[in-house]
């Protein structure tokens, strides 16, 4: 799908909203008694940054003279969304399933999502690889990796 969008306008608007939200949050930073007499407090730099941010986004919004209308490249958004969802799921189950199981599942699902269907290849590039990695981390480098809640329940 080809879209014609003025990228600078969108970028400028997003950054303007961000700077305003940042500026508002700056006012919520707590102050110590007596800070009002200080030249430089925890609020100073954020306030300056918010002002610069607003000025720059206004400059981008109104300053770009040439009509910068460009086409977004043809991109496969579905696969990106699937990969993102896979990563989120990995983060959610990592501590529950433990490093070994969660990572093996992550890799197999990743291969499958990207179109790999050879089962042997998918297997050899997941469990043995993750086991070697896990062995290196826990046994050779002495990094402690929690076995995962599931394995603890099972008494492993």
């Amino acid at each position: 799908m080809y879209m014609t969008i003025a990228k600078n306008r969108i970028g400028g608007l997003i950054f303007l909203a961000l700077s305003l939200a940042y500026g508002y949050s700056t006012t919520l930073i707590p102050m110590y008694p007596g800070d009002e007499y200080e030249v430089f407090t925890a609020k100073t730099l954020p306030a300056v940054l918010a002002i610069i941010g607003v000025i720059l986004s206004l400059a981008l919004l109104f300053g770009s003279r040439d009509e910068q209308k460009s086409e977004l490249p043809k991109l496969d958004w579905v696969i990106a969304a699937k990969l993102m969802a896979l990563m989120v799921a990995y983060g959610l189950v990592l501590e529950f399933l433990g490093f070994l199981i969660a990572t093996t599942l992550f890799l197999i699902c990743g291969y499958w999502l990207l179109g790999e269907r050879r089962k042997t290849l998918m297997f050899f590039c997941s469990l043995p690889l993750v086991t070697v990695f896990w062995y290196g981390l826990t046994q050779l480098l002495g990094i402690y990796l929690a076995p995962g809640a599931v394995l603890q329940w099972m008494g492993v």
């Binding site: 990228k7 969108i10 970028g11 997003i14 950054f15 961000l18 940042y22 949050s25 930073i29 707590p30 102050m31 110590y32 030249v39 430089f40 407090t41 925890a42 730099l45 954020p46 940054l49 918010a50 610069i52 941010g53 720059l56 986004s57 400059a59 981008l60 300053g63 910068q68 977004l72 490249p73 043809k74 991109l75 496969d76 696969i79 990106a80 990969l83 993102m84 990563m87 989120v88 990995y90 983060g91 959610l92 990592l94 501590e95 490093f99 990572t103 992550f106 890799l107 990743g110 291969y111 999502l113 990207l114 179109g115 790999e116 290849l121 590039c125 690889l129 981390l137 480098l141 990094i143």
Partner: protein, 512 residues
């Protein structure tokens, strides 16, 4: 100085450090060859590994990865016309036509030799200039550092290219904004944490670097169908042809390589300029130097057109270590990532590094040179085999890179929440990339943010809470003037030119 070099050599040639150098060069070449992944991503992917190493081994590994990735980028530029990073775009201008003529081997060899000479000249300059600048910078005060950081940020924006200055500046500001998240270091006030304990320590640099440069780049490459097409070209690289250069050819390119190396180093030292600008500049200069007949060959497989950017980008990569090691101010995205990794391992680059950690300082410089030797004697003959590694199917390679990025961050914090934050930052980074916002300035702003605030606060304290240091202290004033010139010089020139042009037109109109 000789004592320093001795310390550097003894540290760099320790078996483990040599191993790190080999691993770094090899891994860097491989990652650099993957279209879409450049030196910044390669170095970012190595950070988690460096956390387990001592600082000198860590930076040797990252330095190896850095020039390995630049070299790998050149290889994919030559073989498949798909530059791995911006600094090797120019390499493809003449390298790819050579490969199409069946001279891929010769082009790769010439690129390797030019890079080697560029790296060598860069390393020699680094040995002389870095300690000199480090000694001078010992007299720098907080106000000077503040000015230098402003210069670093404005220079990155100024070199971002026409039309992108504003966007690069915005990214610098975004990076600075992100750096203010967490507990304020001077008075312990929480800022922008929104009551969440996850943000009390601020955003992790590693997380930001990995999410923006490793995850986002990989996901973008999956989204972009054209990279698959480029990848399939790799399979046709089995015959590279002869890798030998004739004496006449060497004689022809030698002056080009030396000229471009010197130019590349100087450009690399400038904060913000870096290898890409060095490569483009060297190519342009060589074309201007060439005779009318030679000029026609540029872009069609000219040896000089290939040697110039290769020598320049390697010399510039070395040059960019000068501001990093002596002032603690990174000159490019890659050195910004390295600075973050060094700070995380308890080392603050800057003038004190030279005194406090001479082993780190000198071993980096020596390993720069050794890295170039490794690339020449090991990587060049291995290129056909490394290219074979690229034949690993992408459906296998991509999840593995994602896994290394995610676990790299997880293994440092042991907090699964970080993975979710990475995904959010990755989505934001993809959005920013699609809107043509450069991401390196953001990382630079993020890394310099804390230091900038500390130095500004100290400078104000020293100068009785007055900003007068900006014009009263000569060194600060000079640096600030350069920063302002870097930022407003070009627009001002354009404005004057357009005014002069208008007046001339008016005069012509009046006289008619």
């Amino acid at each position: 100085m000789w004592e320093g070099i001795y310390i550097g050599v003894t540290t760099a040639v320790m078996p483990f450090n040599l191993l790190m150098l080999f691993v770094g060069c090899f891994a860097g070449t491989f990652i650099g060859m993957l279209p879409g992944l450049g030196p910044v991503s390669a170095v970012a992917l190595m950070i988690p590994i460096t956390y387990g190493l001592d600082p000198s081994s860590g930076i040797i590994l990252m330095a190896g990865v850095y020039y390995g990735a630049v070299f790998g980028g050149s290889t994919s530029s030559i073989l498949i016309n798909a530059p791995g990073c911006a600094s090797t775009v120019v390499t493809a201008f003449d390298g790819y036509p050579m490969a199409q003529r069946g001279q891929a081997g010769k082009a790769l060899a010439l690129a390797a030799y030019s890079s080697f000479v560029g790296g060598t000249i860069g390393a020699i300059f680094l040995i002389f200039f870095a300690p000199m600048l480090a000694t001078v910078s010992l007299s720098f005060q907080s106000s000077d550092y503040f000015a230098l950081m402003v210069l670093g940020l404005t220079a990155v924006a100024a070199f971002a290219g026409k039309g992108n200055i504003l966007k690069a500046l915005m990214m610098c500001v975004l990076g600075l904004m992100l750096s203010t998240v967490g507990t304020d270091r001077s008075n312990g006030v929480e800022r922008f944490t929104f009551g969440s304990i996850e943000f009390i320590d601020g955003l992790s640099f590693l997380l930001l670097a990995m999410a923006t440069f490793a995850l986002a780049e990989v996901v973008m490459s999956v989204m972009n169908k054209s990279t698959d097409a480029q990848q399939s070209k790799v399979n046709n690289t089995s015959s590279l042809g002869s890798m030998k250069l004739t004496k006449a050819e060497i004689k022809k390119v030698a002056p080009t390589v030396v000229r471009s190396s010197v130019l590349g180093f100087v450009v690399g030292v400038l904060p913000g300029a870096g290898a890409t600008i060095a490569a483009f500049l060297a190519y342009g200069v060589e074309r201007n130097f060439a005779s009318a007949k030679d000029k026609l060959g540029f872009g069609k497989g000219s040896l000089r057109g290939l040697a110039a950017p290769e020598a320049a980008n390697n010399a510039a990569s070395t040059g960019s270590f000068v501001p990093l090691l002596t002032l603690g101010i990174p000159g490019s995205g890659t050195t910004a990532v390295m600075l973050g990794a060094l700070i995380a391992s308890g080392i603050q680059p800057g003038p004190q590094l030279f005194i406090d950690h001479p082993d780190v300082f000198w071993s980096v410089i020596v390993s720069m040179y050794l890295g170039n030797v490794v690339l020449l004697i090991l990587n060049l003959p291995l290129i056909p085999y490394i290219a074979k590694l690229l034949e690993v199917p992408r459906p296998i390679l991509i999840p593995l890179i994602l896994f290394f990025s995610l676990t790299g961050v997880y293994l440092v914090s042991f907090n699964a929440f970080d993975i979710q934050v990475m995904v959010i930052i990755c989505i934001a980074a993809i959005g920013l990339k699609l809107l043509d916002f450069p991401l390196a300035p953001m990382l630079l702003g993020f890394i310099l943010g804390g230091m900038l605030e500390d130095n500004l606060r100290r400078a104000l304290l020293i100068h009785d809470e007055s900003m007068s240091f900006l014009w009263e202290r000569p060194l600060t004033a000079v640096i600030m003037t350069i920063a302002m010139l870097a930022l407003f010089g070009q627009p001002l020139l354009n404005f004057i030119r357009s005014k002069v042009g208008q007046r001339k037109e008016q005069d012509v109109f009046d006289s008619e």
